[in-house]
């Protein structure tokens, strides 16, 4: 029905959209009086509120709608945002009290709180479904605030607006049908949250949508809950138009594609020019060879499928499910290996992934035997024996993950329960969950699974540290194997804790060795008879990201990336434009390129999606780059770093001498395109004193609030949380960078404000006049942090301590920063400019590989 355009009125045909069903201004006015919510008088602007479209993107359906937030108002107005946000929290608490105590005395403030939030509960605008996304464009009336300045501070995706989600991201759609005689859309939507007329729109089913749909609840895979309500219309001109049904049926058809080539990825044909440096894609034999060298694994060999005649033979190749490149024991002939691999699920017989230590104990991934041959473990024994031969001390430990870790179905169930806790539809539901929160959290099992993964990864890491080869075995070797294997390497190898290293690790363990992303992330809905269509769906990758986040909490200065990076990575799983997380196997990817003319675009090229500003939020201000971490591929970054490393070079003496770091890295890791065979004999270049030993009991873990709670404004601590701490450290780094630059240039005009503040000196506004002013009480300024007790003056305690208050030019107004920053609601204030300054200055230092700030230089 959405595409039927025969009876379209003229005014709609003006639009280039295939089917545009925004109402005429007159249509709405006729009914506006009867509704609780009056449509804005400038409704004709709905026509103008069209979403921004990408090349190849088409609108499938559009309708005017109200978007509303589940609990607290989605608003970014300055000042009042803070108070009304927490007002809602207390309001909720109050209503709960009211229930239990039946007190009518407490109504005063309660109703007040409600009335304050109700008029901001929803935003009116145009809701559109395209072949790429679900987009809501608010109408910029008086009430709605566009605040482009403030939103500048928040993560902005080049392809998606704040009120947009990709169709890929949509997991569940609930339709709320009209019930009785609801007076208005809003009322119906409110009623709907408890009524039985809330119905799930099942993917891959015939959809008979009966009755009028007044509201839609859309639950996204990234924990976002979107709620839309639709105006009822009985227009004399066009008859009854059910906008809800229009959107619902469009979503039912487009959000649950049955084939991958229906994905927007194939429609988006913009060329891609790679600017990617430093990430090993493991798409070539060289990448694997380099990793073998880096780890000092001399008993293993890389096999490329293209060089194996058997795998090129069309008749034969179909029997194997091998990736294009894989690493097997040197002592094993390729033919022998192929023979053996036949016995294992998905042809996954022992693949090498990593070696550690001077004896190069190896980490190996192995699938279980095919169900048919499970009686006969001979093949498995032979395979393990071959692996054992590669170990210097001929020792081997087999960790069977299937028995000890959750199945992918368990992970999916845990995820769904957890998501239910994070997407309450109403304040009442929120409070109900809150009362039993920890018990409910335990019932999800999510943290239990995180704990198990960390425990087994720790076990594997300890095995490798004890110079014993470790084999991870799992049914198909492509799911929890990826989690444990990647975590083990993160624990052992500081290289993987850098951004480039982490990305290389995901490429190696997940992409090159073929975690079935397409099925696990539900990019395609296949209904295979009896099986539920989503039984293959399971956020194994999210489980991994959560484990990494837990490590980041326990070792805040060991990772180059921030939690924002990890959260963004989960979001990126649902961007079909990037191929990284779109396919089950390399073969599938190649087919898509050849047959579907798909443009490959790695997600790691973050500049494709984000501005420089947003990319800066990916780095962790507490990270301490070590001298040993320097990798040649990071050379490109060094051009960004202005101050530090030159200073070091000149301090090291000689000035003109070529940077010693360059020479060191030349031997440590070979350049990208050549492999020096002489290096094959070298030992592992992985530092062995920087492994992590995480705590992994449930009570040591916490809930990843940024990723899971960021769409719940009630949980947003304004002016609190991790972002404030990060900002504090960034300010410190920025100050250090500025001073270093001043020292280097011997020009003291651009010293940071904190410097003058520490001195108790006025920042010289006119350089000449202030020259005479004597810098006073400097020593005292430094010591002040210890000595000074904030005086009795209220309001400005310790304003000069630490020298971190920005005195001149007004204090930084960052107090309303969201605790979900750079997600969450926009903030007020005019700080972006200063924040940008801090960001760029601190990043300069963070990216500086000359290790001017490493531990040794300070202690």
């Amino acid at each position: 029905m959405a595409t039927g355009s025969n009876d379209m009125p003229d005014h709609r045909k003006r639009n280039t959209f295939t089917s545009y069903v925004a109402p005429m201004a007159g249509d709405v006015r006729a009914t506006a009086d009867t509704n609780e919510w009056c449509l804005p008088s400038d409704l004709r602007d709905v026509h103008l509120a069209k979403p921004r479209l990408l090349a190849g993107e088409q609108i499938v359906a559009s309708a005017p709608a109200y978007m509303y937030s589940p609990i607290a108002p989605m608003e970014g107005s300055s000042g009042s945002g803070n108070s009304s946000g927490s007002g809602t929290v207390t309001g909720i608490g109050n209503s709960n009290n009211g229930q239990s105590n039946n007190s009518n005395n407490s109504n005063g403030s309660n109703s007040m709180g409600r009335s304050r939030s109700s008029h901001k509960e929803a935003t009116f605008g145009l809701l559109s479904v395209t072949n790429f996304k679900l987009a809501f464009v608010p109408l910029h009336g008086r009430a709605t605030l566009s605040a482009p300045l403030a939103s500048d501070l928040y993560q902005e995706n080049a392809y998606l607006g704040r009120n947009e989600v990709t169709l890929n991201n949509i997991d569940q759609i609930y339709t709320i049908a009209e019930q009785g005689r609801a007076a208005s859309a809003l009322q119906a939507a409110r009623m709907a949250s408890t009524s039985s007329r809330r119905k799930k729109l099942e993917p891959a089913k015939q959809h008979n949508i009966n009755g009028r749909i007044v509201a839609l609840h859309i639950i996204c895979k990234n924990f976002r809950l979107l709620k839309f309500a639709f105006q009822q219309q009985d227009s004399k001109l066009s008859g009854a138009s059910d906008y809800g049904k229009l959107i619902a049926s469009a979503l039912a058809r487009f959000a649950y594609p049955m084939r991958h080539d229906l994905s927007f990825a194939y429609a988006y044909r913009e060329p891609y020019y790679s600017t990617l440096v430093g990430v090993s894609m493991y798409g070539s034999k060289n990448d694997w060879a380099r990793e073998l060298i880096r780890c000092g694994a001399s008993e293993w060999q890389v096999i490329s499928a293209s060089a194996v005649p058997q795998l090129q033979n069309r008749l034969q190749a179909g029997k194997y499910q091998l990736p294009p490149h894989f690493v097997i024991p040197k002592c094993c002939e390729v033919e022998r290996f192929l023979q053996l691999s036949f016995a294992f699920c998905d042809s996954r017989a022992a693949f090498w992934v990593y070696s550690y230590g001077s004896s190069a104990a190896s980490l190996v991934r192995l699938a279980e035997l095919q169900p048919a041959s499970q009686q006969d473990t001979k093949m498995e024994n032979i395979m393990l024996e071959l692996v054992r031969k590669c170990d210097e001390r001929k020792q081997l430990k087999l960790i069977q993950l299937t028995d000890q870790l959750p199945s992918i179905q368990d992970v999916q169930r845990a995820y769904q329960k957890l998501r239910r806790l994070c997407t309450p539809e109403t304040p009442e539901k929120f409070m109900l969950q809150d009362d039993k929160y920890l018990g409910l959290l335990e019932k999800t099992n999510w943290l239990l699974y995180v704990s198990l993964c960390l425990r087994h990864a720790s076990e594997a890491a300890a095995t490798l540290r004890a110079s014993i080869t470790c084999v991870l075995q799992e049914s198909n070797g492509r799911d929890l194997c990826c989690v444990i294997s990647s975590l083990t390497q993160l624990l052992l190898d500081p290289h993987f804790r850098t951004i480039d290293g982490f990305q290389s690790l995901v490429q190696k363990e997940w992409v090159a060795l073929e975690h079935p992303f397409q099925r696990r992330l539900g990019h395609v809905y296949v209904s295979t008879g009896e099986q539920a269509p989503d039984s293959e769906q399971s956020p194994v990758f999210l489980l991994y990201l959560d484990c990494v986040w837990q490590l980041l909490q326990q070792f805040p200065d060991e990772f180059e990336f921030s939690q924002t990076y990890l959260t963004t990575l989960w979001d990126a799983c649902f961007m079909p434009i990037f191929d990284t997380f779109q396919f089950d196997s390399q073969a599938q990817r190649t087919r898509a390129v050849n047959e579907g003319r798909l443009v490959l675009r790695p997600v790691w090229d973050w500049g494709e999606q984000f501005s420089d500003k947003d990319k800066m939020f990916f780095s962790n201000p507490l990270y301490q780059r070590q001298r040993g971490d320097l990798v040649a591929t990071q050379n490109h970054r060094r051009s960004l770093a202005v101050g530090g490393h030159k200073l070091l070079a000149s301090a090291a003496g000689g000035g003109g001498v070529g940077p010693g770091a360059g020479a060191a890295t030349g031997t440590a890791s070979p350049s990208r395109y050549t492999i020096n065979p002489q290096l094959f004999a070298t030992q592992s270049s992985v530092p062995q004193d920087r492994y992590l030993q995480p705590a992994h009991r449930i009570l040591d873990l916490s809930v990843w609030d940024q990723c899971y709670y960021r769409w719940l404004p009630v949980l947003d601590i304004r002016g609190g949380g991790q972002p404030q701490v990060d900002l504090f450290h960034r300010l410190l780094l920025s100050n250090i960078a500025k001073v270093q630059r001043c020292l280097e240039l011997q020009n003291f005009e651009e010293l940071p404000d904190a410097y003058y503040d520490a001195l108790g000196e006025q920042r010289p506004s006119q350089q000449q006049q202030q020259q005479q002013e004597e810098p006073v009480e400097y020593v005292d300024g430094v010591e002040r942090r210890r000595k000074s007790m904030p005086g009795t003056g209220a309001g400005t305690p310790g304003s000069s301590a630490n020298g971190l208050n920005v005195v001149n030019g007004g204090p930084l107004q960052l107090s309303t920063l969201s605790s979900f920053f750079p997600f969450g609601n926009p903030i007020a204030g005019d700080a972006p400019h200063e924040l940008y300054d801090i960001l760029s200055n601190s990043s300069e230092l963070l990216l500086d590989t000359s290790s001017i700030l490493d531990k040794s230089s300070i202690v």
Binding site: N82, S83, V89, N94, N97, N101, N105, S109, D434, D435, K436, Y437, L438, G439, L448, S451, P556, D557, Q624, L647, S650, A695, I698, L699, V714, R718, G719, G721, Q722, Q724, V725, L727, F728, H729, L731, I736, V739, F748, L751, A754, Y755, Q771, P775, Y778, V782, M789, P790, T792, A794, P797, S799, L804, V806, P811, Q813, L814, S815, T816, L853, I858
Partner: protein, 623 residues
């Protein structure tokens, strides 16, 4: 500033995180280290405090450690502490040390009798107020148990054995120069809180409020402080009459005022309404004075901390709450915080879940069923509502519960902390405790039961601990809003029981004056202020203290956490690794180094240009 300081800090905070009590004197940690190295048990394995004297020592006692199993060693009992140290068996392993101030002990019991057979089944079990139990096994034959038991009883519960608390002996033995030094250095804890100075900071006296010493001899209300701030419109006689209508004469008195808007927080006890619904014209007028003292609002909000059912039930006992009919322009809210008995029971369950062992797979349910976090949430939610009224609506708030010394103190102190950044500094927080808790008569003696063996006394309750926990929760949500760190809060919680300082002794200001605590004991704040470094949060102060100094924490169980650093600290495996703020300190000192360097250069530059009147460029003498 330099690397050595930060290293010392690190060391200090490391030992501190395990137990603030023994790290409080640096020499004690040094002493124990020395002993470990030599492998000999020295006569004085710890540093004795001033006034601390040996009472008993036994060299053949087994400490039944719940984590490392039974360890054999020596037990020392002084008039301040119980100290056990295992005899080193293997060289590598550090000795097991138990160092508990006797004030922490709630109950001592003998276990096993003459017929006990099993190993380590005959001895003493000690139940502590700080979430741990200790078991010592004695050999039956050498009768060492009896004296240990008796000495413990006598020294842990001196008030039940007509003795005196250690704080007095400690102060009496303290060298006078130390006390004088403290005063001259300005860190004398007894001088931290000056009621009139604090009122002046808030802008009192002003047009609407006055300070009065009406209660100087504690004649009107024996549990209130000597100095009050009250509405100017109320005369002394009038105040006397109002006091009669409030439970225990605790009439509404100013706690805090917003100097900008004049919106106030006042505190009191419940009105004596009773079943018949008595009214009192003076009390009604008095509340209207409080309302009128704030020109910004024509309403007054009463926050009754109790659940409304409890408030109603109190009518039967002659108490109750203000009816909105009788009091004009008043709205009453119930904050649903439960009474001291519920809280005591809740904390008992927390102890059960945390000590000695935990079941990881049932951990969350176990914590959930204690309801501790829900109670904390309620207190936070109540405080946030008060903050919203005072800050956003500029409405004055009156807070009370039944007697106005438990839940009321929690709410007023916490909301003041959220409203006024001064209270988030070390000095300010000390003032806050002195003012809202000590001077307004939170009954510390009763709630803690210092030196008294009635361990099942129904008046005991962790009300103050709950406040410290709430402050910690806020400090977790606003990591850089506080000048002090977690260690500061733990230290306060520890010395709440230790009886080493006079601060938390007695129930009321009147009692403290009568006991002359100011002269006969040392204040905890003296101790803290004299070694401030280890209590400072390196992340403070920051740019958050700009235009919006008001904190609004999230009152949801999703946002509050169990304070493992306090409740679970005895379990060596339970404390997550402390990464601390090492990196922050490094960056801070790096920044300071650079500032210093720049300053030197600029000075040189200035001198040169002054001397030579030319603009010769400096060579680069960096590093």
């Amino acid at each position: 500033m330099d690397a050595t300081t930060s290293l010392a800090d690190k060391l200090a905070s490391k030992t501190a995180s395990s137990n603030s009590l023994d790290s409080s004197s640096k020499s004690s940690s040094l002493g124990s280290k020395h002993g470990a190295e030599n492998g000999i048990l020295r006569d004085t394995p710890f540093a004795y405090l001033e006034g601390e004297e040996d009472q008993d020592q036994k060299n053949d006692v087994t400490y039944v450690c719940p984590y490392r199993g039974p360890v054999f060693g020596a037990l020392t009992i002084t008039n301040y502490r119980l100290y056990f140290r295992s005899l080193p068996l293997r060289d590598q392993e550090p000795p097991v040390v138990v160092d508990v101030p006797l004030g922490v002990i709630a109950r001592v019991e003998k276990i096993g009798g003459a017929t006990s057979r099993g190993e380590n089944s005959y001895g003493i079990e000690i139940f502590c107020k700080d979430m741990r139990n200790l078991r010592f096994a004695h050999k039956q034959q050498n009768h060492s148990r009896r004296t240990v038991f008796e000495k413990l009883q006598a020294n842990a519960f001196p008030l039940s054995y007509s003795g005196k608390l250690f704080a007095f002996a400690h102060a009496a033995a303290a060298q006078p120069p130390a006390a004088i030094a403290a005063v001259s250095a300005g860190w004398d804890g007894w001088a931290v809180y000056e009621p009139l100075a604090e009122l002046r900071r808030l802008g009192v006296p002003n047009d609407m409020w006055r300070a009065t010493k009406l209660n100087e001899s504690y004649g009107i209300c024996d549990s209130y402080p000597a100095v009050w701030a009250v509405p100017k419109a109320a005369s002394d006689d009038f105040l006397r009459r109002v006091a009669q209508f409030r439970s225990r004469c605790r009439l509404p008195v100013l706690s805090w005022m917003n100097p900008r808007t004049q919106a106030t927080i006042t505190r009191c006890s419940q009105p004596l309404v009773g079943v018949s619904g008595k009214r009192n014209a003076d009390d009604e007028t008095y509340l209207s004075y409080i309302m009128e003292a704030n020109a910004q609002s024509d309403k007054l909000t009463i926050m009754d901390a109790r659940p409304s059912a409890n408030a109603i039930a109190n009518k039967a006992k002659g108490g109750g709450y203000e009816s909105e009919d009788a009091y004009k322009n008043v709205e009453i809210n119930f904050l649903d915080i439960h009474n001291i008995h519920v809280m005591r029971e809740s904390l008992r369950k927390v102890k059960e879940a945390c000590y000695p062992t935990t079941d990881d797979s049932k951990w969350q349910t176990a914590i959930d069923s204690t309801l501790w976090l829900k109670h904390i949430r309620c207190i936070l939610a109540g405080a946030v509502r008060i903050v919203d009224k005072v800050e956003t609506m500029s409405t004055s708030v009156v807070v009370h519960c039944s007697d106005g010394w438990d839940r009321t103190a929690q709410l007023t102190a916490l909301s003041m902390l959220l409203l006024d950044p001064h209270y988030r500094t070390v000095r300010g927080f000390e003032v806050l405790i002195e003012k809202e808790w000590l001077s307004f008569g939170h009954k510390f003696q009763q709630r803690i039961g210092h030196g008294d063996n009635k361990h099942s006394d129904a008046d005991r309750s962790p009300v103050f601990l709950q406040f410290i926990d709430s402050v910690w929760q806020v400090s977790q949500q606003f990591v850089n809003a506080f000048e002090f760190n977690e260690h500061f809060l733990i230290t306060i919680a520890d010395h709440l029981y230790s009886c080493r300082f006079g601060t938390f002794l007695c129930n009321t200001e009147a009692e403290r004056v009568a006991e002359d605590l100011k002269h006969k004991t040392i204040s905890l704040w003296t101790h803290i202020n004299s070694s401030l470094d280890q209590y400072l949060n390196p992340l403070f102060p920051s740019f958050t203290h700009g235009p919006e100094p008001v904190l609004r924490p999230i009152a949801s169980v999703r946002a509050v956490r169990l304070w493992k650093g306090l409740y679970c600290r005895w379990n060596p495996g339970l404390c997550a690794p402390q990464h601390g703020c090492q990196r922050t300190r490094e960056l801070l000192s790096k920044q300071d180094q650079l500032f210093k360097h720049v300053n030197e250069l600029r000075l040189k530059l200035n001198n040169r240009s002054n001397n030579m009147q030319t603009t010769t460029r400096l060579a680069s003498p960096m590093h």
